[in-house]
Amino acid sequence: MEFFLVQTLNGISYGLLLFMLSSGLTLVFSLMGVLNFAHASFYMLGAYFAYQVSVKIGFWPALVVAPLLAGALGMLVERFGLRQVHKHGHVAELLFTFGLAYLIEEAVHLIWGRAAVEYRVPVELDGPLFHIMGSQYPIYRGFMMLVSVAMLVSIWAALTRTRIGLVIQAALTHPQTVEALGHNVPRVFMLVFGGGAALAGLAGVIGGNAFVTEPGMAAAVGPIIFVIVVVGGMGSLAGAFVASLLIGCMQTFAVSLDWSLAGISIAQVAPVLPYLLMVLLLIFRPKGLMGTREG
């Protein structure tokens, strides 16, 4: 029972982290039609920026500075890269971000080296939060959940309750009309792309020290968040939320269970599970869990 409870909490905190990543990806995709292949690279950059800032100043400033840096970089990429590629079509845009992912990974290799860096959980957040029937739950996991939920609530509020949020929502479906009403749609695109990058950066700040900060982290998490977007249904935020929690819990349970079948343990199969889920879903429900279109 205690095992189940702790693992569920771990799964939810991992799922929320995944949702911070996939929400930005989904938003950018539904707004601009661009599937940002470099999204996970901004997650990695967030972690590395946070490491650099936390070494120099401390973790708390890093929590603010690193996502801002990632977001600013994202805006620059949109302004001087994507906008240029836009006229060549969506495939070119996708390929541009694909190349960008290469570049960011290599830049990280060059600047921080190939080994993992020592990006640690701050002392204040180190230790158990509470005990459930003898096993302890770390504070940092709770903190991760807190940050994710706070972030998601503020995103939701910004999208539905503010002026710029309304403009973004309108630009999702009717960009021409929004432009005709005098809004600068390319700037909205830039803001959303930067916002998605900042969101990924924030996920990197809190994920980088919970897991490992190394040059392979983008390639490890990137395919998973793409699977989430497909499983949830392309462009559906609610679908991405459900899929993130599902895959987060699935991964956490699979890694920690020691059942085995025909000589292969569940933990060994764990890396395949998300992809298997995607394949099965595509066969039986091609539009994804909550997707609306089948194209």
């Binding site: 890269g81 969506h90 390929l95 570049l103 699977v227 395949v272």
Partner: protein, 419 residues
């Protein structure tokens, strides 16, 4: 354009490329050149098979290495059986085995991936690629885990006097299969299926109205493409005598995408150029610098931004100008732009190498260029290279504008003459 099956120029082109395959190892002598040529031949098949998806079928795949890699695994097992003496099969026909293995997996995975087109296809192919990679690591008995399975290509009696021990024989095996595959893939573009693949790429809705099942066209195209991917996997297995998880990895899939795109997706011969350039980048450049992947990535991004038709399009663009005999007028602006690009590149390389030297423990921080040494720890060197880069970029901007002006003036003139 008039349909001309016995078009003389085309026969000459194919004859010339066959000749090129035959004489290449005698022009570029030495073991290193031979390795390079063999790898180029293998990658040419792989890139052409990839372009059957991306260029001809409009399917952007991020998991094409699955088919070449699994084909290679099939071949490595057959080779090992042959080594044990429990199977007799000519080595020179092994690529057929690899191709059939690739085709079998194409049938299996293609059924899932080709249900959707566009971005979703790209994502599913990525997912399948990751899944296969994870599976390969999961069953070390069958796939040899991280270390992979090694083999020996010299097995059994020499077939037609070929033992495939010497690298030159392997090169000619690769060259022969490469030429055959090139011809077969070109022939496929001329078949009704090849044409329908183009139609499905350009306008799936209309293709459906005409009465074609777009899903089936994509599926057939992918299955055929995975056959050729398997052939190339088999050749790389014979060449390297080892197959590991890296053969099915995202790195390989990304590599073939880069090679194909750099070469030029809209043209049949684009991937051939791309494969040659890519192997050169990977094998030759990686000997010089640890940052080669950064340069390759940068090259790719610049191609996506400024030359989406790849190198092939840049070449084809020049044809009308050359035919009109006006290419001399462009030489000046081109030379200027190339010079500016070189200056910018020098500045960039300087900066990148200094970053690398600072981060790599134990590396010397002093960089020597043209007899002048720069210390990466001093601010002066950073300023120098940054200034070189900035100057190069500024000059490139000016030069590019001049090229553009000359180019459009020339085009206008040529158009008005034909009109």
């Amino acid at each position: 354009m008039k349909y001309a099956p016995l078009y003389l120029g085309r026969w000459m082109l194919w004859g010339a490329s066959a000749l090129l395959f035959a004489v290449a190892p005698h022009v570029f002598k030495g073991g290193f050149a031979l390795t390079l040529l063999t790898q180029m031949g293998t990658l040419i098949i792989f890139a052409l098979s990839y372009n059957m998806l991306l260029g001809q079928g409009g399917m952007l795949s991020f998991g094409h290495a699955v088919y070449s890699g699994l084909g290679a695994y099939g071949v490595v097992h057959v080779l090992n059986f042959m080594g044990k003496g429990s199977l007799v099969f000519p080595v020179s026909l092994l690529p057929l085995v690899g191709g059939l293995a690739g085709l079998a997996f194409g049938l299996l995975f293609g059924y899932v991936t080709t249900r959707r087109a566009g971005t979703t296809f790209a994502l599913i192919s990525l997912g399948i690629g990751e899944m296969v990679f994870a599976c390969v690591l999961m069953f070390p008995g069958l796939f040899g885990g991280e270390a992979g399975i090694s083999t020996n290509r010299v097995v059994g009696q020499p077939f037609l006097g070929l033992s495939f021990g010497p690298a030159l024989q392997v090169y000619y095996l690769v060259a022969a299969w490469c030429f055959l595959s090139m011809a077969a893939m070109f022939a496929l573009t001329q078949t009704p299926l090849g044409r329908m693949a183009n139609a499905v790429r350009d306008n799936p809705e209309r293709a459906e109205f005409v009465g074609y099942n777009t899903q089936r066209v994509r599926f057939l195209q992918l299955v055929l493409s995975s056959f050729f991917a398997g052939v190339s996997g088999a050749l790389s297995c014979i060449n390297f005598e080892i197959v590991s998880a890296e053969n099915v990895s995202a790195i390989r899939s990304g590599g073939v995408l880069l090679a194909t795109y750099i070469g030029g997706v809209p043209f049949f011969f684009g991937p051939i150029i791309g494969a040659i350039v890519f192997v050169f980048f990977v094998v030759a450049l990686s000997g010089f610098t640890r940052a080669w992947l950064l340069y390759l990535g940068l090259f790719f991004v610049l191609m996506v931004m400024y030359a989406p038709g790849g190198i092939a399009a840049l070449i084809v663009m020049q044809f009308p100008v050359i035919r009109a005999g006006r290419w001399r007028e462009l030489l000046g602006p081109y030379a200027l732009a190339a010079l500016a690009a070189l200056v910018a590149l020098a500045g960039l390389i300087g900066l990148v190498e200094m970053v690398y030297r600072l981060s790599e423990p134990g590396a010397s921080t002093v960089l020597t260029v043209l007899g002048v040494s720069f210390d990466a720890r001093g601010a002066a060197s950073w300023f120098t290279f940054a200034a070189v880069l900035a100057a190069g970029l500024a000059a490139l901007r000016l030069a590019a504008r001049r090229v553009g002006e000359r180019w459009s003036a020339l085009q206008l003139e040529l158009q008005s003459r034909t009109a």
